[in-house]
Amino acid sequence: MRRFFLIAPPYAWLLLLFLAPFAIVVKISLSDYALAIPPYVPKFSWDEGIGAYLSQLDFENYIFLTEDDLYWKAYLSSFKIAAISTTLTLLVGYPIAYGMTRVPSEWRPTLMMLVILPFWTSFLIRVYAWMGILSSEGYLNQLLLWIGVIDTPLTILNTNSAVYIGIVYTYLPFMILPIYSALERLDESLIEAAEDLGCSRLTAFWLVTIPLSKTGIIAGCFLVFIPALGEFVIPSLLGGSNTLMIGKVLWEEFFSNRDWPVASAVAVILLLLLVIPIVLFQRNQQKQQEAEQ
């Protein structure tokens, strides 16, 4: 009984705030577009009964997604952007996390604070700040022109590069923290043992440090990849007209076209695509826990 009360709140939370809204989204995605409020039919009414309601549902919207190549291109492009940004975040985040475990331990809380510090400012404001930095009259171009590295301002804003910069910047802490926690647990004597057995510093890092921080790397990559895949704010503010991301498509479908059923179908497919990496992520976590026992 006590057990039930302990697990009830998380399950109730999940049911109310995830499964129920998701069921509604699925339901809308199976409806047809209509000029109405809300803009879809059929609407469920108790008079007609559930049978009549269900008979009017179809998969038309999902079929539509396969007919227009905008959607699969957007999915693919989102995957590509998310994958590249995740790789870049890893390349930037790993050395930072590694460096944080190398400094004397009294410095670590300060560094940790600095990593988390950007979260104290609104995410939107930080993305707007990047617009100021990256635009052709922005601080970055001014700096580069002043140093003399370039003659004409670089076009960074409204390109995919700006999107990568924005994603790396925003999600960096999510990469650093799990890797840091994996590296911090790493026993220094393992590195010494590897060196003692004939490894150079570099091979010891490659054969011991990297494999032993693998769980942190995987966790960090998922924590960046999953939100980056459905990212909407960064591509719409920093990206250009060429930047095709599913989050943006979804938003336009929903707010510009007011086609709720198609938007819902896009969202459902996105979620199903995300379920795969999430399941993989879960498995990784489980393995890690088993290894620690």
Binding site: D187, S189, L190, E192, A193, A194, E195, D196, L197, G198, C199, S200, T203, L207, V208, P211, L212, K214, A291, Q293
Partner: protein, 410 residues
């Protein structure tokens, strides 16, 4: 300590395991041929013998702290050398300098005639078994043992043979595919040993190798370690704070304190003839009696102590001048305890039993003399405890011979 001498010369029949690895041939030593004669293994007494390791005036400072203070020692091939001392005495620093993880501030470390001070750990012919074992958790037992061999670029077939051999040597064959977290502490200890021995190092360093094991397993493992050391003929240097362990396994024990070597000797000599009060006190249990000497014959001295008591007699090879302050160190087991005054004892004192420490096989009696000095005496419990001859508050006689104690200068 029966193992002190002769132990390291094993019959050839025991010496089988090293066959495949090309490098390991140098483990087979000429002196270990087919003859079964037991030669005393005491290279440190042989002026011709060249030490494998020679520390020459080595000093190591960490900031203002001197961890190793102008230290000079020799370690010979095939020795089982124990560095013994309290924590913070510098023994681990000494070992880490041998492994290459620390560089001496001053001095030279010679390995087989070569100064290895500037050689990085991965280029040294030494291997180390870490206190934490430092097994790679992401690799199987087999891969752990093969790790060093793979770095050497050894051929696959040779690696297989060598790892199998190591698994046999440490009786781990059936655990080869497991991960370190899937085996027991004792097995992990053996994996660590196998891994560090796999490359057939000239010198194996063991940092508190048995510290994580419980007492019973530790004692078994000590003998296993000695056995493996004999079989492979590798020079072992062990760091420990456990004097029993050092005495059991080592051919020689170096007692350290504050970055200095206080005494290096075989376990029996360390125990029987400590060169200082520090060593006598650190190794085992001891009674220290302060007094002043008067010569009464060749090597024989009378010791005046605790005002008003009859002087004690003790023999000593080291000369003492008359009136010199001294410490007489006597092991409790060399002090006899009797109810009546012994008739023919060189030294006899009377006192009252203050405490009895019952250890099962033996009991230690703390006897308080009228002067307030407490002397410990040990007696084997040959009778059942209900029939014990003495109990608390009993007045008893303690006696010991003139050769029982060691006379140490202050």
């Amino acid at each position: 300590m029966p193992n002190a001498v002769g132990r390291l010369t094993c019959p050839a029949a025991n010496f089988a395991p090293v066959k495949t690895c090309a490098k390991s041939t140098d483990l087979v030593h000429a002196g270990r041929g087919p003859s079964l004669t037991t030669v005393e293994f005491e290279p440190w007494n042989d002026p011709q013998a060249k030490p494998l390791i020679h520390f020459q005036n080595v000093t190591k400072r960490f900031g203002t702290f001197t961890a190793i203070d102008d230290l000079t020692i020799d370690i010979y091939e095939k020795e089982f050398y124990a560095l013994l001392g309290p924590s913070g005495c510098g023994k681990t620093t000494l070992m880490r300098m041998l492994a290459g993880f620390e560089t001496p501030t001053e001095g030279k470390i010679m390995l087989a005639g070569q100064n290895i001070v500037s050689v990085p750990p991965n280029k040294r012919a030494t291997n180390m078994m870490f206190q934490s074992y430092a097994l790679f958790p992401h690799l199987s037992i087999w891969e752990n043992i093969a790790f060093g061999l793979k770095r050497e670029g050894m051929a696959k077939a040779d690696i297989n043979d060598r790892v199998d051999e190591m698994l046999r040597l440490t009786r781990l064959e059936q655990f080869a595919r497991r991960k370190p977290h899937q085996i027991s502490g004792g097995q992990r200890q053996r994996v660590a040993l196998a891994r560090s021995l796999a490359k057939a190092p000239k010198l194996l360093l063991l940092d508190e190798p048995l510290g994580a094991l419980d007492k019973k397993l530790r004692q078994e493992t000590q003998f296993e370690l000695m056995d493996i050391q004999e079989k492979t003929g590798t020079t072992f240097v062990i760091v420990t704070h456990d004097q029993e362990e050092a005495m059991t396994v080592a051919s020689r024990v170096a007692v350290m304190d504050h970055g200095k070597i206080i005494q290096v000797a075989t376990p029996d000599r360390i125990y029987e003839t400590p060169n200082s009060v520090y060593v006598a006190d650190f190794i085992g249990d001891v009674n220290i009696i302060e007094g002043t000497t008067t010569a009464i014959g060749d090597d024989s001295y009378s010791i005046a102590w605790a005002d008003g008591r009859a002087p004690l007699t003790a023999n000593s090879n080291t000369p003492f001048s008359d009136g010199q302050k001294c410490h007489l160190a006597i092991r409790p087991e060399k002090v006899a305890i009797t109810a009546d005054e012994p008739s023919e004892a060189a030294n006899a004192v009377q006192g009252k039993i203050l405490d009895i420490a019952y250890l099962g096989n033996i009991s230690t009696y703390h006897v308080e003399l009228p002067s307030g000095v407490v002397i410990k005496a040990q007696a084997a419990n040959t009778r059942r405890i209900s029939r014990r001859s003495y109990t608390w508050e009993d007045t008893v006689w303690l006696s010991w011979t003139a050769t029982a104690g060691v006379l140490l200068a202050s």
